[in-house]
């Protein structure tokens, strides 16, 4: 099967090269058969990558320990579920997985648009094939996952061998979220290839109008949704597994995933200006280019070893390939822009400074500055070493100091932007839209201040959350009220109807609401407490209102590890409320240890209990490290709302359709109302 998979990868590379070269020839000659063959070659490339990926998974499932990659990242006792995740545990497999996810996108695009957009698609096909060629080059010639296990023989020559068992999977990856977090994140990273390909193709082909924007909107939202979910799942994994009480440490690899998210978010907002007003064309094209470049940059940071990170793969020379690819993409984008910049002339002007357009400009400004801050902070140690010879560390305190004010400004804009009208907002409208949110935000802030809150940023954050929530609820209220007046339905039904009539707008509001919840959760970090204590059986420790009593310790041998578990009873005001089982796992195959945190989670706070290990002081008593993390649950709940809002925004609008009704046709209440106004037509609901 390893030969089969390897052969499929080589064939995929050949097909991708043909799709690229044949595609260019098709663009030059406009020969229909050539166009078709290039497209079909692109589809074949994807199918062959699917085959190669399934082949390596087959090797994992059959415990084929003649494969070097399987030996390195699996063992017989590894649960089947984790054998899926073992694919992306190492450099070679994760690069193949990247190609696999990219192939799903490319396959979907080539099939969905096979008979559409004939002028644009050959260019798109060539660009996608170009990206695939790069990754297939790595898969075939630089980091192949299909290498057979070989050891030096008696005469010094390498001999192929098969081991009876493998080294096993890193304990940190043996957690359910590690099977779903990387696919989400990779789907985000690779998904931005599609808007990139369409943007570059439209520029190269000088494709008229804003159609490429409409074509790629959903792809961009899908990629953004996956990226968001991937980042949050990663944060949740760090929180539940690493045992340090936090969820975001500003590690270079975390930062790498945030960078394209920031520019992608900026693009999702500024693209509306191009759709509606024909403005910001140059900006949008460069935002798409930057987002894709940052995706590649993120991969480079993770794999090159250029920055030190707990997440990073082993140091290798693969980084220079990524640098080369980054240079090629940047130069291609620059040349395409310089040659066709007249195509990107803005069609409209700004009518007023107080308008939706201006708010988007500021939104983009904040997101981009945040991106620059995170990127410069991540790369500064490398830069300082190159320039001054000494490495200067840039850690979490720097990122927090810079990004917290920016994040709060962005939260403020989240409330302001949607209430401003396109073109111009009148003073009357400003008063009508902002009076209540401002009043409630200020009252809320004052109430929290008098309740004892003195953390400035937390106070500001909660006040802004109230402000933004009110603006969102008002938008739903006003729209639902109109529908309710006409249809007589309940407010909830009217609000759902309102959302379904303009899914993009109201889906966007739901996303904003999710972001508000996330900000509430983030603000809770200002009030974290933690206690660490050596515990004897029956002894207790206090954190906040909780009393933790150690009731016992047990050891449980499992197939792949031995679990050492503490039995901790939790009391509040002498009333038992919960049993918690923080655990340490010892993995015999590789001698590594891992933690399983026990969390008692409520909307108010998380009681987070870690079995830190046996006391290093010599007493060998178990040590419990307990944290009280307020409002963390709101982050995960907010993440679910964000993803839900993205899904809503992806749905087609339900629109009122004008139809003629014959005499005696059945009428609904709504129809009767409309008939009263326009006697010859009625409204029927339908989907566009």
């Amino acid at each position: 099967m390893d030969v089969f998979g390897s052969f499929a990868l080589v064939l995929a590379f050949i097909c991708a090269v043909y799709a690229f070269v044949g595609g260019i020839a098709a663009i030059v000659t406009r020969h229909p058969l050539l166009i078709k063959s290039a497209r079909q070659s692109g589809i074949a490339t994807c199918c062959l990558i699917f085959i190669a990926t399934f082949s390596i998974e087959y090797l994992f499932f059959t415990d084929n320990f003649a494969s070097a990659y399987v030996v390195s990242h699996s063992n017989r006792a590894l649960a089947t579920f984790y054998k899926i995740g073992a694919l992306w545990a190492g450099q070679e497999g994760s690069l193949l997985f990247w190609s696999f996810v990219l192939a799903i996108y490319v396959f979907s695009v080539l099939v969905a648009y096979r008979n559409k957009n004939g002028e644009l698609m050959p260019y798109v096909g060539v660009i996608l094939a170009g990206v695939q060629i790069f990754f297939l080059t790595l898969n075939n010639f630089i980091a192949s996952p299909f290498k057979a296990l070989a050891v030096p023989g008696a005469n010094g020559a390498m001999e192929f061998v098969a081991r009876s068992d493998g080294n096993g999977l890193t304990p940190l990856l043996q957690y359910p979220e590690m099977v779903i977090h990387p696919p989400h994140l990779y789907s985000g990273y690779t998904g931005f290839t599609i808007p990139f390909a369409f943007a570059l193709a439209a520029l190269l082909a000088r494709y008229p109008g804003e159609k490429w924007i409409h074509l790629t909107r959903k792809w961009t939202m899908i990629a953004w949704g996956f990226q968001t979910a991937g980042i949050l799942l990663g944060a949740h994994w760090a929180y539940a597994v690493l045992g340090w009480g936090g969820y975001w440490g500003w590690d270079p690899v975390e930062n790498a995933s945030l960078l394209p998210w920031l520019t992608g978010t900026a693009f999702l907002h500024s693209v509306m200006m191009q759709e509606k007003r024909g403005m910001m064309k140059v900006w949008n094209v460069w935002l798409v280019f930057s987002t894709f470049l940052l995706c590649i940059m993120g991969t480079f940071l993770t794999r090159s070893g250029v920055v030190s990170s707990v997440h990073a793969f082993a140091q290798s020379n693969i980084g220079r390939w990524f640098v080369g690819f980054l240079v090629v993409i940047f130069l291609t984008c620059l040349v395409a822009y310089v040659k066709n910049r007249d195509y990107l002339t803005s069609e409209n002007q700004l009518d007023s400074v107080v308008s939706r357009e201006s708010s988007f400009l500021f939104n983009n400004l904040v997101l981009l500055v945040s991106c620059v801050a995170v990127l410069s902070g991540t790369l500064f140690p490398v830069l300082s070493e190159a320039v001054s010879g000494s490495k200067i560390s840039v850690g979490a305190p720097f990122f927090n100091k810079v990004n917290i004010p920016l994040g709060l400004f962005l939260l403020f804009l989240t409330g302001v932007g949607p209430l401003l009208a396109w073109r111009k907002t009148s003073a009357e409208s400003l008063k009508r839209n902002f009076a209540w949110p401002l009043i409630l935000g200020l009252i809320g802030g004052a109430a929290l201040f008098f309740a004892g809150m003195r953390e400035f940023y937390a106070l500001l954050c909660f006040s802004l959350c109230i402000f933004v929530t009110t603006t969102i609820l008002m938008e739903f209220y006003r729209g639902a009220k109109v529908i309710r007046t006409r249809s007589g339905a309940s407010f909830l039904t009217s609000a759902i109807e309102l959302t379904m009539r303009n899914t993009r707008r109201y889906g966007g509001y739901i996303v904003h609401m999710g972001m508000v919840l996330i900000f509430i959760g983030l603000a809770g970090a200002a009030f974290t407490q933690n206690v660490q204590k050596e515990m004897q059986q029956g002894s207790s420790m206090q954190i906040g209102k909780y009393t933790l009593v150690l009731q016992g310790l047990d050891t449980k041998p499992e197939a792949n590890y031995t679990g050492h578990r503490l039995i901790v009873e939790v009391f509040v005001a002498n009333k038992p409320i919960m049993m918690l089982y923080p655990e340490r796992r010892e993995f015999e195959t590789n001698g590594e240890t891992g933690t399983m945190v026990a969390i008692y989670s409520t909307l108010r706070e998380d009681l987070y209990v870690v079995y830190a290990g046996q006391s290093p002081a010599g007493s060998d008593l178990p040590v419990i490290h307990a944290y009280l993390n307020p409002l963390v649950k709101w982050i995960w709940f907010g993440g679910v709302i964000v993803v839900f809002g993205t899904l809503v925004a992806l749905m087609p609008n339900r629109r009122a359709v004008l139809v003629l009704t014959g005499a005696g046709a059945k009428q609904t209440a709504g129809e009767t109302l409309v008939r009263g106004m326009t006697p010859s037509v009625t409204i029927r609901e339908g989907h566009d």
């Binding site: 400074v353 400004l365 801050a373 902070g377 300082s384 560390s393 953390e455 933690n530």
Partner: protein
């Protein structure tokens, strides 16, 4: 008379909103953390947050070292040694700056968790500020350029004796209006 009848429901509505808002706050407040309970770390740990644990196996600060993957999930021996040194120097009466500087002398600037504000390292702090200033300048320049392009005077002047609007122009205007009011 008419004013009176209009202002009454308005006042009632305002009162209702206030009652509803107060109830919301009352409902949400118990969910919020106990603000007075925020924990201030001890002096040594607070200073320990400013210097990096130099064990080479983690990227944590000495005050916040938890050493993922280690035999003990808590401060490793290196971090504990650094915290001990800090404790001893605090007891001796050394200032915070002096203690941090002693670590810089021993390990170089790489020991600091955030870059210093002076010298080349200060550039790290300048970059976001400069990016914001440059971006703001760009936004203002773009807005003023777009505004300059507008010339409403002649258009308004001609509006009085303008030729009839063509069907095509009207359709385009309708389409634009539809787009403007969609989102």
């Amino acid at each position: 008379m008419i004013r009176k009848t209009k202002s009454k429901p308005k006042m009632k509505r305002i009162a209702l909103v206030f009652v509803a808002a107060s109830m919301c706050f009352a409902g949400v407040l118990p969910l919020l953390p106990a603000f007075g309970d925020s924990q201030e770390p001890d002096h040594a740990h607070r200073l320990g947050m400013k210097v990096r644990c130099m064990c080479g196996g983690c990227n944590d600060s000495a005050g916040g070292c938890y050493h993922v993957g280690g035999a003990f999930s808590g401060p490793c021996d290196t971090a504990k040694g650094m915290l001990k040194t800090i404790d001893a120097r605090i007891a001796k009466g050394d200032s915070d700056d002096l203690i941090v500087q002693s670590f810089v002398q021993e390990f170089g600037q790489a020991v600091l968790t955030e870059p210093p504000h002076n010298g080349f390292a200060g550039l790290a702090w300048w970059i976001p500020g400069l990016a914001f200033a440059a971006g703001l300048g760009l936004v203002i320049a773009v807005i003023s350029r777009w505004r300059k392009r507008l010339s409403p005077g002649p258009a308004l002047a001609a509006a009085g004796n303008a030729p009839p609007v063509s069907h095509e122009l009207l359709e385009r205007a309708r389409a634009q209006a539809a787009r403007d009011t969609e989102d």
